[in-house]
Amino acid sequence: MADHETHDYDVVVIGAGGAGLRAAIEACEMGQRTALVCKSLLGKAHTVMAEGGAAAAMGNVWPEDNWQVHFRDTMRGGKMLNNWRMAQLHAQEAPDRIYELERWGALFDRTTDGRILQRDFGGHRYARLAHVGDRTGLELIRTLQQRAVALDIDVFMECKVLRLVKDAEGTVSAAVGYRRPTGDAVVFKAKAFVLATGSIGKSWLYTSNSWESTGDGHAMAAWAGADLIDMEFVQFHPTGMVWPLSVRGILVTEGVRGDGGVLRNTDGRRFMFDYIPKMFAAETADTEEEADRWYDDHINNRRPPELLPRDEVARSINSEVKAGRGGPHGGVFLDIATRRSPEYIRRRLPSMYHQFMELAGVDITASPMEVGPTCHYMMGGVRVDADTERSTVSGLYAAGEVAGGMHGANRLGGNSLSDLLVFGRRAGKAAAEFAQGRTGAPAADAGEVAAVVADAEAPLARAGGESPYEVHHDLQRTMQDLVGIIRTDAELRQALEELDVLDERAARVSVPGGRAYNPGWNLATDLPAMLTVSRMVASGALERRESRGGHTREDYPAADIEFGGVNLVQRIDAEGSYTLEREDLPVMPPELRALFEEDVH
């Protein structure tokens, strides 16, 4: 191994999407020497893709809204598996985090009296999403990016972190990685680390996620011995593009439905009326007339079934297509053209208009969009303390998609952007406090660092092995076909067997070229994390013999009361074996439980 550069900080944040940026801002404002390390250029992280908005009970459009209603919607959307304390903190603090963005320069769309406008989304009782047209994620990441620049936070762009290294006491002390432009190894020593690495979507073939979503943080936490929870819960967003094939999976915002779009099958029927689950029957319209009146009068009408939580809509689309009522490319039709004026559509949904016009040659003001489910969001992740985002490993914190618990079995749209802000801030704060209390310089064993680097560089030295692209593609096929939206015992067992083979293949890949900006090599170094996390998803899905939220078992189609009371906790023990345990959910205090027994207004 060549000499590597070493940096010393108080707090190192890995990942520069919304959660990482917000964590770094907080740690820096608390006076900590803070570094932000990210795989891409600053401002390009997957947060930029978020379209619809950030959910926060500000009550600007419906004064009836408040944190209790938001909390209740979130828990019900998550099928009551959410960590109640996280859901509570999220609902309580989201409005302040949104107003804070405004103080930092964000320009949200306005109400007629000049306040932040809020839009309707699936699973939210009231119009609650602060937004900027359909490019809210861009506004959020740019605002945070500009705030980080104003604070002069050190940013290490295009830098991939491979592993966390602990000191003799078991506290995380260093992160080892490499700079993508040169391929040179780099070591960050710090008193506290925040993981904000996002998702694992690139393990599936059809996904809305970018190349960065390879589960790095999930895997690094697991390799460091941390607990992960709810790994079986993967959200398939109901509406991804399906045609042309090259764009299959690209997200079509839920805002289309929030703004009046409806789903139709090939017969033109609004089929969602056929799939209203009991849990939501009391608050869902059962006629088209009532559903259409709801957009202007939320109080006297019930919401359209197109705005049920995402898991319900995704499964319904799947069933329609399976029954032969789908479109020519295996999707269903999302129609806003017959429901809203072209001017309204272009103003409210400019990115969608643009995206379909340029990539599919479809004018969404004149024709329906063909859409189908796409792998979108990882509910499961690093188990954290709700108030501090502290993992079960000392010195390690996690926020955003890499953390588990907040969203339970299914995330509501709009709750991700607010999650990033609320828990990014809390993680940055707690990491800074931990760093302030930690004495002595963090130490990393040189031999362990060297081994991480040598392991990563091995595919470059190897000749005649398989291409990492082939292994990646086969992993995506396995996860898509066997650990997808509908699961069975036999397929999950087959997936685990295929993952064994893929592990062996990944250990033998070789890539031509050098270390400098070599995407083949970069992919080879992403594979171990993708495989580790994929195994946890399949293992959790095999163990959870029920259907709940984002996890649907064809062989166990009903929710099970016992599974409804437990998280599946996974970890990798000191010997490297995967373990899986059931653990009871934290008990919700009576005053919050009461919210589910009466109607809240």
């Binding site: 490319h329 295996g330 939206i485």
Partner: protein, 293 residues
């Protein structure tokens, strides 16, 4: 397909009327130089240039360097010069390029090469650090702000920017003039400055900085930046020209000049603290006249 997310078979492609193959000429090399390498790939219906680049990576050239993230025109990572024009690779459909000619894909010329299609765009990030940040006045009694939609629409237009840096790439002030980079921020930063200038809540005055250090006077309004903007931001008409007008007003209006002299003591500390090391460079010799062109 039996299932929308599973099913091993790839759906049959629709009837294809296009050519069977596409010929790609991709620039390969590093800061020491390079040349175009030709790849002949099977044609696939509906693909964009980035898809073909990905197939080249998965096949003949696993080490072909290119940036990309969202593949949906939202992140601005995959900027390149396609058939000589700055475009996003993810939003350029193959079937809209001349079918019988090779497609050339080259890195952006204005920035130093790292490898193949990847350039060092740190210039843009350095320049962004020089602009003093948003600095709002006090909020309403309830702690929040009021802004009317009509007053933020211009700012929202500029905030559509995805930082693809193609406006910077095509700007002739720096495209072939490395020597101008130290004192010229470029279109991306001019619309950022104008966004802050037009923000209803902002209290800072960046006009002097924009004139003296960011070199807005060098722009002679050829509108090349506006033409390549994938977000269709009217960079020149709505951003640079109004910015030039404001800067001119600030420089030559005697009342404004006097006001500035008085206010400078109170405002300059905020402006200075937001400016970083690169701005400490002395103003460029032969600094341009304001409102040129």
């Amino acid at each position: 397909m039996a299932d929308t997310t599973t099913g091993r078979e790839t759906p049959a492609a629709g009837p294809s009327t296009g050519p069977a193959h596409v010929t790609m000429q991709v620039w390969r090399g590093d800061h020491d130089g390079g040349s175009f390498t030709e790849y002949v790939m099977p044609a696939v219906e509906g693909e964009v240039v980035l898809d073909v680049v990905h197939r080249i990576q998965a096949g003949p050239a696993p080490d072909l360097a290119c940036r990309w993230n969202c593949k949906a025109g939202k992140c601005g990572s995959c900027s390149a010069e396609i058939n000589g024009l700055p475009r996003l690779m993810c939003m350029t459909r193959m079937d809209q390029l001349p079918p019988d000619e090779p497609v050339t894909v080259a890195p952006m010329r204005t920035f130093p090469i790292i490898r193949d299609l990847v350039t060092d765009v740190s210039f843009n990030y350095e320049m962004a650090r020089q602009l003093p940040p948003f600095s709002p006045g006090p909020p309403e009694p309830d702690g929040t702000y009021r802004m009317m939609q009509v007053d933020i629409e211009r700012g929202q237009e500029f905030r559509k920017c995805i930082e693809c840096f193609m406006c910077q790439d095509v700007c002739h002030v720096i495209r072939d003039h490395e020597e101008n980079k130290p004192h010229y921020a470029g279109p991306r930063l001019f619309i950022r400055a104008m966004e802050l200038e037009s923000h209803p809540l902002d209290t800072d005055d960046r006009r002097e900085l924009v004139r003296r250090h960011l070199g807005v006077g060098y722009c002679n309004i050829t509108k090349c930046c506006t033409e390549v903007c994938p977000e269709h931001i009217k960079i020149t008409d709505n951003g640079i020209i109004p910015l030039k007008e404001r800067v001119v007003d600030a420089s030559y209006d005697p009342v404004a000049w006097l006001g500035r002299r008085i206010l400078r003591r109170t405002k300059s500390s905020a402006a200075e603290s937001g400016r970083r090391a690169p701005a400490q460079r002395a103003a460029a010799p032969g600094a341009p006249s304001d409102g040129a062109g």
